[in-house]
């Protein structure tokens, strides 16, 4: 690497520059847009690495081997594969013994086979019935569109009369507004320059992609099946009212008005409760949720945290947070290092003690079930 700008960029990123050189570099960034973009990419890389979970699961026998060795059993520390082979041999020996039990066993076996056959037949019948039911429920039907704005294009008027089906695109202009009714599911309104695509519109699943625009969704009681995709983030309404300001050129925002919404990011689901707003940081990252009446100072700190999780910012957020900011703190848990996580847990516990069924260690280890239990506990006491 010989480009002096690139060397400086990585030195800055690695925190190897003196405070003066750091400041000078930050000023350079204002003039050199390419360098600023590269820095953004590096920070994104750092965030991805920070979120990189331990995806590989060791064989269960690994821990048993360790403990067996500590207990000074004469267990040889072999490859788990050898252990599996040993297990197989044991199983085979047992099987041979069983076979020697004679006629009784044979009768038992025949009965078992007969039972399995009937169970299989029932299973096939069940699947066929399920398939027919699914076909019936999954048949798509058009969504009703009605105009809210007085003036509208002829194109929009023709959509209003024919309705919207699967894979349809809808683009509305600056001064146009429409109301779309999804039967037995909910209603959403689109205001101003908006662009959506319908992925599916069935009784089981209603799903749209929003490219940009302002959308407000109001569910009908019992609805659980409306999902909205923006960039690479899937938002699922849990019988909840929400609004989104989606944009491809600036920051998109989601405000949850009732209940909570699920935000699915690369199969990791976060539940954002009512009265909270999140921002899209880029195509597949979201900010910490902020309660609608959060103080200006805390809002500023949370924005700083979304860019860089510095020690100073984290400590300031912890200091400023009150009980109403509990979900901001809760979502910090997975975004900070274990050292800071311990402080966040301490602060959260001050407002909402951990349920008895989970331990601090579970939360420190970001155990999903434990996090879910605590979230439910906090949410139900709101």
């Amino acid at each position: 690497m010989t480009n002096p700008d690139q060397i400086l960029l990585h030195d800055y990123f690695d925190n190897l520059l003196s405070p003066e050189a750091q400041k000078e570099f930050e000023e350079t960034l204002l003039d050199k847009i390419d360098l600023a973009i590269d820095l953004g990419k590096l920070k994104n890389l750092q965030r991805n690495l920070h979120n990189l979970s331990s995806n590989f699961e060791p064989n269960e026998i690994v821990i048993e081997n360790i403990i067996a060795s500590l207990l000074e059993d004469k267990v040889k520390i072999d490859s788990p594969e050898i252990e599996v082979e040993k297990e197989d041999t044991k199983r085979k020996k047992k099987k041979i013994k069983k076979e020697r039990k004679g006629l009784k066993a044979l009768t038992k076996f025949r009965l078992k086979r007969l039972f399995t056959f009937f169970a299989f037949l029932s299973f096939i019948a069940l699947i066929a019935a399920g398939y027919l039911y699914f076909q019936k429920e999954n048949s798509s039907f058009p969504w009703e569109v009605s105009l809210i704005s007085e003036n509208s294009s002829s194109e929009l008027q023709s959509i209003v009369s024919s309705g919207l089906g699967s894979n349809a695109h809808l683009t509305i202009g600056k001064d146009e507004s429409v109301k779309i009714t999804i039967v037995n599911n909910g209603i959403f309104e689109l205001h101003g320059e908006s662009e959506i695509e319908i992925i599916s519109g069935t009784q089981l699943q209603n799903s749209i992609i929003i490219e940009n625009g302002n959308l407000e969704f109001t569910p009908q009681i019992g609805n659980i099946s409306f999902q909205l995709i923006h960039n690479e983030i899937i938002l699922q309404s849990k019988n909840s009212q929400f609004e989104i300001t989606a944009s491809n050129t600036s920051t998109s925002k989601v405000k949850v008005l009732t209940n909570f919404v699920d935000i699915n990011l690369k199969n990791v689901v976060s539940k954002i409760p009512f009265n909270h707003t999140i921002q899209y940081l880029d195509k597949n990252h979201i900010s910490l949720p902020l309660i609608s009446n959060a103080s200006k100072q805390l809002t500023k700190l949370v924005h700083e945290f979304d860019i860089k999780q510095s020690n100073k910012t984290i400590l300031s957020i912890l200091k400023l947070s009150t009980k109403k900011n509990v979900f901001t703190l809760f979502f910090m848990l997975s975004k900070v290092t274990p050292t800071h996580r311990e402080l966040v847990i301490e602060k959260l516990q001050h407002f909402y003690p951990l349920p008895k069924s989970i331990t601090i260690l579970d939360i420190l280890m970001l155990n999903n079930d434990a996090l879910e239990t605590w979230w439910e506990e906090i949410y139900s006491s709101l």
């Binding site: 990189l52 690994v62 520390i77 601090i360």
Partner: protein
């Protein structure tokens, strides 16, 4: 900073309580296994290495100073053992001899697309990148492990790995 519960487990393990050590193993097993696997790229070798790392840590836990972070201490043992294996190929040769793995069984794929970009890097680049950008080792510390490269060469290599990762079409 360590949580009280972890401190209690360490203290109990130092007094010879194996159940406490089992808890510590459980809490760190996946992390150590993933580190071993990302470097060795072979599940069998990574599993045996993980076992050996925890056994060595148990034998030396009395030397863990009060206030010293267990996970960082354990990671240093892990990195030492992993590099020992990379140098000597002791476990690898043993497994090849037993016919459990072959000389070419060295590729692992993750369900995570981003992780696969790292796993597909050439050996030296992958190892140095993992140690620096994931495990937070310094360039100087890494040069202690990679004998045939200077700190500057390692630094340049890691930085061009970063650049190649962020400019890969598959990335984000």
């Amino acid at each position: 900073m360590q949580h009280d519960y972890i401190r209690l487990l360490i203290k109990s393990a130092q007094q010879g309580k194996k159940n406490a050590y089992r808890e510590l193993c459980n809490a760190n097993l996946k992390k150590i296994y993933n580190l071993s696997l990302r470097i060795t790229l072979n599940k069998n070798i990574a599993e045996i290495l993980t076992q050996n790392i925890f056994i060595e840590a148990w034998e030396n836990i009395k030397f863990l100073r009060e206030g010293q972070a267990f996970d960082i201490w354990l990671k240093s043992i892990a990195v030492y053992k992993i590099f020992d294996e990379m140098r000597t190929s002791k476990i690898k040769n043993d497994l090849v001899e037993k016919g459990i793995i072959t000389e070419n069984d060295f590729s692992v794929l993750s369900s995570d697309k981003f992780e696969n970009l790292i796993l597909l890097l050439p050996d030296k680049e992958r190892i140095a990148f993992i140690l620096h950008d994931i495990e937070e080792y310094t360039y100087e510390e890494i040069s202690d492990f990679i004998d045939d490269m200077t700190t500057l060469e390692i630094k340049n290599m890691i930085r061009s790995t970063r650049n190649s990762l962020i400019n890969t079409p598959d990335y984000d």
